[in-house]
């Protein structure tokens, strides 16, 4: 096992400011203690409803945001991680710990170090209609990462841009065009080309197909598959559509209100879900097959606010299996099968 991205106990809180002096009066716990490991070459799917912290997690992992606490290790050897853990546990020699974290923990990086890291990790945003600058030409959009990271310039840059456009299936004749002259699918291709420009190892996708039509969505998914194979990429793929997650991802993490509630291989998570939330998510997903209409579990209520999550297990107010225990204590992720983890006191 070669772990590329290792997220440990990651938390990202956003302060709610109020009062005359704008002091924080509360915290939105967008990501509240997530531990995830993405193996090299894996296509990790992150599913959940809106407001569960998927996007925040992705943006924190590529360091668009600084985590509140927790560690993110990007391509750090296991020995170093173990060393950090050991010195954290022992509590002394904090000087050495600080220097180790400064070297290895993404969460502590700043300035040039982050820039250097972003060459290797990129993000593709959700909506291709807002993620491209309407006043930049296609060639400038795709070339921008190359300029910023001082990878290539001049003629070499232009050749690289043309090559990138070829990889994502756009023609070089469109170099002088502006984003509004492209369709949604083409724009998402541009965004993907831009992400590929610095030859990253890791790309996070934030619902790249949710703004696209079904037929275009299939084209983009096939493109992602090919790119992953050709360049040996590692993906963190955020989606709320379970059918997509199930058909393309190698590993699935289900999130609810800032926490991962279930992790496992797609066939296990979707066919034998162990967490009541994943189960209802699976059964609520409409499948294009009129014979499978029956047996839907309709969850009562809505996702609570992450600013004021319910105590104990965050899912208990909507859960049919909730007990006293769930109201008081939050369950931890437990191994329940082959690489299958569930955070529930009463798994199915």
């Amino acid at each position: 096992m070669n772990i590329l991205v290792d997220i440990r106990g990651l938390k990202k809180y956003f302060p709610i400011r109020g009062g005359v002096f704008g002091r924080p009066v509360g915290m939105v716990k967008a990501v509240d203690g997530v531990s995830l490991a993405v193996e090299r070459g894996q296509w990790l799917g992150l599913v959940g409803e809106s407001g569960c912290g998927k996007t925040t997690l992705a943006k924190t992992v590529v360091r668009l945001w600084k985590p509140t606490s927790g560690h993110i290790y990007f391509d750090v050897p296991d020995a170093v991680k173990a060393e950090i853990e050991a010195s954290e546990a022992s509590g002394n020699n904090s000087g050495k710990l600080a220097s180790l974290l400064k070297e290895n923990d993404l969460g502590t990086f700043s300035g040039a170090r982050v820039r250097l890291f972003r060459r290797r990790a990129q993000l593709v945003h959700q909506d291709p209609f807002t993620s491209l600058d309407p006043r930049m030409k296609l060639k400038n959009i795709v070339a921008e990462p190359l300029t910023i990271h001082k990878v290539l310039s001049g003629d070499a840059q232009e050749t690289a841009v043309k090559e990138l456009l070829g990889t994502v299936g756009l023609s070089a004749g469109q170099l002088e065009r502006y984003p509004h002259q492209f369709s949604g699918g083409q724009r998402q291709r541009i965004a993907i080309a831009r992400a590929l420009a610095t030859k990253p190892e890791f790309i996070a996708f934030d619902e790249p197909t949710s703004a696209l039509d079904v037929s275009v969505q299939a084209q983009i998914l096939n493109l992602l598959k090919d790119l992953k194979k050709d360049f040996g990429l590692t993906y963190l793929y955020i989606t709320h559509e379970l059918l997509i997650a199930e058909s393309v991802c190698d590993y699935i993490a289900v999130m609810y209100l800032g926490k991962v509630v279930e992790m496992g291989r797609p066939e296990e998570v979707f066919h034998t879900p162990r967490h009541p939330y994943s189960q209802s998510l699976v059964s609520a997903t409409p499948v294009p097959d009129p014979k499978r209409r029956v047996g839907r579990i309709v969850l009562p209520g809505e996702v609570p606010s992450p600013a004021n999550p319910p105590p104990g297990c965050a899912f208990h107010p909507r859960c049919s299996r909730a007990s006293e225990q769930c109201r008081e204590f939050g369950p931890e992720l437990k191994l329940v099968g082959d690489d299958h983890y569930v955070a529930c006191f009463h798994p199915l």
Partner: protein, 386 residues
Amino acid sequence: MQQDLIRIRDLSVRFYTYEGVVHAIDDLDLDIRQGETLGIVGETGSGKTMTALAILRLIPYPGKIESGSIVFFDRDGGGELDLLKLSEDKMRSIRGNKISMVFQEPGAALNPVYTIGDQISEVYLLHRRQELGHRAKQRVDSLLSDGSGFASALRRPFWRWQSRLYDKIAQDSHSVEPRFLSHVPLFRRLLRRLRDEAKLLTVDMLKNVEIPDPARVAAQYPHQISGGMKQRAVIAMALACSPELLIADEPTTSLDVTIQAQMLELFRRIKADRGASVVFVTHNLGVASEVCDRLTVMYAGRLCEVASVEDMFLHPSHPYTKALLDAVPIPGKELQTIPGALADALNPPPGCRFHPRCPSAMPMCQRERPKLKEIGKDHMVACYLF
């Protein structure tokens, strides 16, 4: 055989833009039957929303309904009406009353400066004035008969006046005296009970769409409630007058899966309770297969295929329908893509508009447009393969 509720014939909608004329809908024939849920599926720009808007004559500028007829068979009185020939006044009495619509984005469909209750009451105040007058009169009459003591003796003359006014409204919603008074400050307070009655009906309606604590929600503004609640409120508004046809334009697109499941359940219950027809516009084939009885597939402003849900998913016939179904990610199956891009709306290809992307295109497809042909029971396809 169910009876038709709406019969659309040769409907054409065009948009006159600076770049040229867009044929948003091109000679469309479609029947909507009584008590059925008809799904309209298609990709962006296929004309599915325009079809829905055309039924209500709400095509936005610079679009125009060019030709055709939309005949509405009104169950309770009214008889046959060609919606495209009605006066704007008459059309307004049908919109929201006999035919109503749920729009795509609940956040954008609600007015942010009025409370939910106000916005739903408006429907009653507009279309159910007589009923409200009747209810208000009963309430005033009960006050007249029950009231005793000094305070009530003082108010009695006003109550009598109110009773007379509400009676007039109950007889004729356009009667002159109440209408005149409604424009006179102070005196218009005599009519405030209409609004109170509308509020009561609104709360009932909100309860009907399973909103918890309806009285509180009615007093809230749209930004104070969640997306799912807003969509329920919009559905309540559309159902307020028990319409014969409910048009839902992508009602679940902006909602989460679990909330979407709640909505689909609600739609199914509403249909069973009220026996109304529903037109369900969606691009999500999964949702369509869940709620619809019959499906139509549209491509570039034209119908490709009309069939029952079972037929459509088990025996898709039109190459576009097949391609669309294959493009839905199904675990364990290789994803199929449709080659090429959606037909250019300004310069659509001649003949069958799908032929440049069609795997089984023939020379004939480039020349002439295929007609809808019946290939099975209730199964129509517009393709030369059949």
